[in-house]
């Protein structure tokens, strides 16, 4: 067996392990095997590559490994609320890596005349996707961390200008395919792609960033695919395609759950109208105290807790767990209803509740719990807003009309915890808070839930 065959066999096993890694994510029970398979696959990929005869010097690689590890470990300690930013930042790194490799290869082949049309096309894709993913993700990370204004920044003819820039970059790349020796053109592709990444994300509202991140994940995957064509490497193509599909599917799931189209997310400047639509509060909502709430809850047979973005902001998950324990102790049947886009990233609520050690078999998906809602005694809404807004079902003029929601309004009584009557992400008012059977608990979710728990615990000390 030649060395080359050995390397290809290692790549083959690595590819299989990457696929298994994602397969095992289908179930929380096997998900951790998935991580191990992924790590194994990556180690094999690296080892296989290092075995290659073309690797003549290792010191730079070793230094980069060490530095990368040194930076990577602390990056994994971020609090769970910062996971979206961290992911965005990582995509920026991934895009950068792809872009740089493409650049290096271009100049290498420019020197030795190896720039075939095929290679130049692949490099064009790789560099375009790589650099735009890089700056786009940086912008997304900035918006999520609120370093950059989260509201959509728009100007006249924005879409035309942006697409014009992209078209220009593509045209330059096409020119280079036919005249690869015109190397002065190459830096323009880089600059234009970097610029396009920035301009692409600027006009998108902060709250749409999860969808954008997923799309950028897809682009990062595709740039790895392009790199696979450049380096003539099937492992890169496969792993890149897996990533590309993942990003695509997650963004589609998010768009569907919000009942919006890709175009609307990318070019709709959603969230811009926030200010104007805070309607005139003629009607008043009924406020309640923690004591009232405790009373209502402990006398219920069944309680469904519907968490939303507010629970994440307030970091209230541990208090929520205490509440659940107190109620369960009293024989109340407590379930959690999780909307697919509650919070700010897919699966956001699940991770937070898992962190608070709430077993995942007490979490129910929207479609599974909605039929039971009319039989529920109390629906406890914790920092959720749009995902329980009945306008999505009732009001065809509402911007969220048609979005599937959790039918909290059908429960016998509703308790809603939030700090004010301000709207949520979609910037619209919520009928639910004015309903006859709704009581509002104003305040920070963590504090309010804590108070309710104290009331419950105080009454019957154990």
């Amino acid at each position: 067996m030649t060395l080359e065959t050995l390397i290809q066999l290692i790549y083959l096993i690595s590819t299989g392990a990457f696929i298994l890694s994602l397969k095992w994510m289908s179930d929380p029970k096997t998900a951790r095997h998935g991580v191990f398979a992924g790590v194994g696959a990556m180690v094999l990929a690296v080892v296989g590559t290092l075995l290659g005869r073309e690797i003549v010097a290792f010191h730079w690689i070793a230094i980069a490994f060490v530095l990368g590890t040194a930076v990577g470990i602390p990056l994994s300690w971020v609090p769970l609320t910062a996971v979206p930013q961290r992911t965005a930042l990582s995509h920026a790194f991934g895009g950068l890596a792809a872009g740089l490799v493409g650049t290096a290869k271009y100049y290498m082949w420019l020197g030795d005349g190896g720039l075939t049309k095929f290679r130049m096309t692949a490099i064009g894709f790789e560099v375009l996707l790589g650099y735009l993913t890089c700056t786009g993700s940086l912008m997304a990370a900035g918006k999520l961390q609120e370093v950059i204004p989260t509201r959509p920044l728009t100007y006249r003819n924005q879409n035309v200008i942006n697409l014009g820039l992209l078209a220009l970059a593509v045209m330059i790349a096409v020119t280079l395919v036919f005249r690869p020796e015109q190397s002065w053109l190459f830096p323009f592709i880089i600059v234009l792609s970097l610029l396009f990444g920035v301009l692409l994300v600027l006009p998108i509202g902060g709250a749409d960033m999860p969808t954008v991140i997923s799309l950028l994940n897809s682009y990062a995957g595709l740039s790895a695919v392009a790199m696979g064509f450049v380096m003539e490497n099937k492992l890169l193509i496969t792993a890149g395609a897996l990533d590309g599909s993942s990003g695509l599917i997650l963004s589609i799931i998010m768009c569907r759950a919000m009942n919006r189209s890709f175009t609307n997310v990318l070019f709709g400047a959603f969230g811009q109208v926030e200010a104007q639509s805070t309607a005139i509060e003629q009607r008043t909502a009924k406020a309640a105290t923690a004591e009232d709430a405790a009373h209502l809850l402990e006398n219920a047979n069944s309680v469904v807790i519907i968490p939303g973005y507010g629970m994440a902001v307030a970091q209230a998950q541990h208090r929520v767990r205490d509440l659940r324990d107190e109620l369960t102790k009293r024989g109340v049947n407590v379930k959690f209803a999780i909307h697919p886009v509650a919070g700010r990233m897919p699966g956001h609520m699940n991770v937070l509740l898992a962190e608070a050690e709430i077993p995942y078999d007490s979490l129910f998906e929207m479609d599974d719990i909605n039929p039971d809602m009319p039989q529920v005694d109390v629906a406890l809404v914790i920092g959720a807003n749009d995902v329980v807004n009945p306008a999505a079902r009732r009001d065809p003029k509402s911007p969220i009309y048609g979005m599937p929601i959790i039918d909290a309004d059908k429960a016998k009584a509703v308790l809603a915890i939030k700090r004010s009557m301000n709207p949520g992400f979609a910037g619209i008012e919520n009928e639910l808070y004015f309903a006859d059977n709704t009581l509002m608990l104003f305040g920070d979710a963590k504090a309010v839930v804590g108070d309710v728990v104290k009331e419950l615990a105080g009454e019957t000390p154990h």
């Binding site: 990929a45 490994f65 991934g94 290096a104 380096m231 590309g244 599909s245 990233m345």
Partner: protein
């Protein structure tokens, strides 16, 4: 072991079929960890980065390659670690209850 355009497309098509199928069946519970896992997987770009660096053809390529290796390593390390950290939290039954 050279790879022509159509063979590359072939692999790409098959892998995309697999990817779309596999991801569609990832549990909704795990979408957040999935995002960090695929983030780590996309750092497969390290393969290209290592080759460019290790070939040491020009100073430029070595420098660019080394930066790319650094960036990819960061993603690999942080991506896998954070995924595992999140997954460790998912429990079915209450521990010791």
């Amino acid at each position: 072991m050279e790879l022509d355009f159509v063979s590359g497309l072939f692999v790409f098509m098959l892998a995309t079929f697999i990817g779309l199928d596999v991801i569609r069946r990832v549990s909704r519970l795990l979408h957040t960890p999935l995002m960090s896992l695929t983030n780590a997987i996309s750092a497969i770009a390290i393969v290209g980065a290592i080759i460019v660096t290790g070939e040491q053809q020009t100073t430029l390529s070595t420098v660019l390659g080394a930066i790319a290796v650094f960036a990819s390593t960061t993603n690999i390390v942080s991506g896998f670690l954070i995924t595992d950290r999140m997954l460790k939290m998912f429990k079915k039954r209450e521990p010791g209850k």
